[in-house]
């Protein structure tokens, strides 16, 4: 009985890891190319406030965190679209308020301190069936929107001005991207934890960028690295009995190191080749 139960948790965790690895790698390619990792970090901490409130109210934390995070994602995009107004400051303020509220809610909560810890560091035991359904929904939405939006987001990432002159509604596209990133972050928190969820969306694509010659490759490698790191991370997490967030991110760090070595190796080989031909 206990064994099957464990298996269901493990299976659900791995399936969830594959899905979230896909989402993280996919949206990560835009986050990395547009240098938006601050947004991921900010949104993760905003979600923390919502999760703490959910735990206090004994409601599903995901549903409380979701509207908060989406609203802040929209607000930050609005600030960014309207002007180059100090978005760092705005994120800093949202970030601080949410964390302060989160700490307040957790201290008011006498029963669920250990739950709150799991949310900080991530655990496959937290991944509920509903959570898995929700991340599947985000993934399906992403796949449906990809044929329409990937080509426009990528064009805008390359040169916003050119995209505008080619009649792309860059502003609307950016709102959609921010909302989808917010959804991805909230749904990833249970597996990876609040501390590391922003890195979860950055490291696979940053690794991919090291070895990619085109943005198409960057997107594909980002997804592959995201999925692989989730699977191996969960495996290490179970066998070493440590939080999933930590093992997933460390696996990603290994992939990053590997890509860095490949890149330098190629660079040196090309250079020595150039010297020879000269």
């Amino acid at each position: 009985m206990i064994e099957t139960l464990t298996n269901i948790f493990v299976l659900r965790g791995i399936l969830s890891g594959i899905i979230l690895g896909f989402l993280g790698g996919y949206y990560g390619s835009f986050i990395v190319q547009r240098r938006m990792s601050f947004l991921g970090d900010g949104l993760a901490h905003v979600a923390f406030g919502g999760i703490a409130l959910g735990l206090l109210l004994e409601k599903e934390p995901l549903w409380i965190a979701l509207p908060f995070t989406i609203l802040v994602a929209i607000a930050l995009t609005f600030l960014k679209e309207k002007s180059e107004l100090e978005i760092d400051t705005a994120i800093g303020i949202f970030f601080a308020i949410s964390v302060a509220l989160g700490i307040l809610f957790i201290s008011l909560n006498k029963h669920y301190i250990s739950d709150a810890f799991s949310y900080l560091f991530g655990s496959i035991l937290l991944v509920s069936e509903m959570n898995l359904l929700f991340s599947s929904f985000v993934t399906i939405l992403t796949i449906i929107l990809t044929p329409i939006l990937w080509k426009r987001w990528t064009y805008t990432s390359f040169d916003r001005e050119l995209a505008i002159t080619d009649k792309i509604n860059v502003s609307v596209d950016n709102y959609i991207l921010s909302i989808l990133i917010a959804l991805t972050i909230v749904t990833s928190i249970k597996l990876v934890g609040i501390f590391l969820v922003a890195s979860f969306l950055v490291i696979p694509s940053a690794s991919a960028k090291l070895i990619s010659k085109t943005f198409t490759q960057l997107t594909l490698f980002g997804i592959i690295f995201g999925v692989l790191s989730s699977i191996f991370g969960i495996f290490f997490s179970i066998s070493l009995d440590v939080p999933t967030g930590s093992t997933i991110i460390l696996t990603q760090a290994l992939i990053f190191l590997f890509c860095l070595i490949i890149k330098n190796f190629n660079f040196k080989r090309k250079n020595s080749h150039n010297v020879q031909t000269r």
Binding site: Y155, T165, T214, F215, T216
Partner: protein, 254 residues
Amino acid sequence: MRLNNKKAISVENLSVYFGDFCVLENLNFSVEQGDFVTVVGPNGGGKTTLIKTILGAIRPKMGNILIFGENPNKIDFRYLGYVPQLKNFDRTFPAKAIEIVATGLTGHWNFILNKATKKLSLEALEQVGVPHLANQQINRLSGGELQRVYLARALVRNPKILVLDEPITGVDIVGENDFGKVLEMQQKMHSLTVFMVTHDWEYAYHHSSYVILLNKRIFAFDIPKRAFTESALRNTFGHIGHEHSIQFIASKND
């Protein structure tokens, strides 16, 4: 063709503001199909703003701007080929030169290039003399090479009007023809309308059919010989620091 009886660009009482700040004030001019118009003026004089208004990226506060009789936001994006200033784009973006050219055709980034797009993009690179750069990573291109790639990107869509923002018109170290010559050849071959912002007065003087002197307002709109008068230039630039350039142009004219 229907387009022939419409002006390529017509601007009436055009004013553009950034908040309360007036960038362009009451501009009036029109450009015929096939004209080569250069815009000269000091930094901050609204040259790039004018270009972006023509491209439909900035909406005027007052007045009208029409491209072949239509609102810039309504026309097919392929009417206008745009060569931007090179400083805007992200050099770390992983892409091959041919992918940039292909965006000119499709108006979005391509996940994979299909055969037809690839062929047309290659032809455009050939037209501007750099077919060998097709599979080159963009972060390995020189400024001059990149500018040609951008020109190919603008030409591949067969635009009616080519809009250029401060291209480097001088000698290209890599290519045998400088960018200006390539541009002129393309303009003649396709009877393109060219609208170009430039700091290169000499190029403007020798190559354009009309010159606009712009500093918030239009100080001259005329053939180069009549536009580049000392008084008009002094009025446009508002100081006398460019006297040597005026003499330089005059001596070239002898």
